[in-house]
Subunit: 288 residues, 2 copies
């Protein structure tokens, strides 16, 4: 029975979860915790959380479920601070974008072993804005949440976390940790890297003065993700490094094949490549 | 005085131009020409053009201005067919995405020299849909049109073509041919190549079954242009090859620097790169 949920990091992700769970009456009380008292006060005033504390130990001592939505680089530190104060029955879960990174942070904090009650997870949702002011009650409606249980993850804990996300309207799926990290490197992290790098290339190019004057709608859509928070994406590059490098190298190899086809004016090969891509995208978007 | 305009290729680009010019009363008559009688009949029924012929020579014999919106690969052939039938006073202009390619096609057709009445141009506008059914009267409203006159382009011809585009609500600017081709390679052609290649990489990757299930809104925006017509984009790669390769290599070099920064976990360098890109994009979009 979930009475109290404690959320570390009450921004877009943690705040939107709190709002959806509150609305559904999933628990009796939601406690927020972070280092920023003003943000937490704002979250209470917005009705996102019921109460707050800036003391991690106080935050968890009566918690039945703990949700971590702090930056990837802060996971190990938070877990180390709270490990001795977490009730035995409490379930821990998180929303980090790189699961091996969180798994290792937890192992580091918990003497080399991921607790059986720790259910690694990642909601595939977001907005351009961030912070609790951007939180919305239906952020997770019809969105995918990927859970990445390990061999001895407690089944009841997995069931509870699954139910929690389903309560928000999300579609819950499971992948293993490595699959998750490669999949997200491919579908999210690599696109961000490419968008940032395209803008950077254009900004530094001496092709034409004020080159961005000549961009059209397709360019705006293509580069929208390059307006994302550079701190968050730096951390993702650091914390999902190996998977990102794997996908980046696969992409670069393919790009070099296409480069040769263009240099050779190989019309048929270029057409086949573009045609394959268009068909794959059109089909993928149709089934969403 | 422009009485008759003849448009070769009455699809999205040519059709939208005809609609805007008709509405503004820019000329007395618009004649469409292509190989497809059904499409031309449809264009007349939609009120896009006044009359049509499938005979290029008949199409131009009374034209005061000729607009070519056929595929880049068809420019030389059309120009060769009509060259001996174009009235001396008639202005020729086009909407091709690669200006050196059109310039060379025209030189090839006109005995090695671009006619002084030929004003090379390129409207930076489009939609995902194509064909005359997708044509809209305000396609060019507030859009950029780049004209790329050469040294001895006739000034009156340039003025008339400028006025024609301004009549549609477009903002007319000039670049030289090489600048145009590099700029568009950077802001349009390279993004399309990257989007196609990302989708192709994911479609061929064995990372996770049905990898597109795990994509979110950012991915959909980023890859929208990969649903573009592969024939058109193959032709652009063939016809603007050198400029695309130049920009592709600049991009690849930058990407390799970033790859090294990620591999080295160089947090500061990654942050600076992403931050530069975010600032450049935010500023560019603010000034649009």
């Amino acid at each position: 029975m979930i009475k109290q949920i404690t959320i570390f990091g009450v921004g877009l992700i943690g705040g939107s979860l709190a709002m959806a769970l509150n609305k559904a009456g999933f628990c009796e009380k939601i406690v927020g915790c972070s280092r920023n008292r003003e943000h937490l006060q704002q979250a209470v005033e917005l009705g996102v959380i019921d109460q707050f504390t800036t003391d991690p130990r106080l935050a968890v001592e009566n918690a039945d479920l703990i949700f971590l939505s702090v930056p990837l680089g802060a996971m190990a530190s938070i877990l180390t601070q709270i490990k001795d104060y977490i009730p035995k029955h409490a379930i821990i879960t998180d929303g980090g974008s790189a699961k091996m990174s969180v798994k290792q942070a937890a192992e580091q904090a918990f003497d080399g072993k991921l607790p059986r009650n720790f259910v690694l997870g990642h909601p595939i949702a977001g907005r351009e804005k961030s912070g609790v002011g951007a939180a919305i009650v239906n952020l997770y409606q019809d969105r995918k949440v990927i859970l990445t249980p390990v061999t001895d993850t407690n089944t009841e804990a997995l069931t509870t976390v699954t139910k929690m996300w389903q309560t928000t309207g999300a579609i819950v799926e499971t992948l293993n940790v490595e699959e998750h990290d490669l999949t997200l490197a491919a579908t999210s992290h690599l696109p961000h890297v490419l968008a940032y790098e395209l803008i950077s290339t254009l900004a530094q190019s001496d092709v034409s003065e004020d080159i961005f004057r000549y961009t059209a709608g397709g360019f705006q859509d293509f580069t929208r993700i390059a307006s994302s928070d550079p701190v968050m994406w730096r951390d993702i590059c650091l914390e999902n490094r190996d998977a990102i490098l794997t996908m980046l190298d696969e992409f670069t190899d393919n790009l070099q094949v296409l480069r040769k086809d263009i240099a050779d004016s190989n019309a048929e090969a270029i057409y086949e490549e573009f045609s394959l891509a268009k068909d794959a995208r059109d089909q993928a978007m149709r089934h969403r």
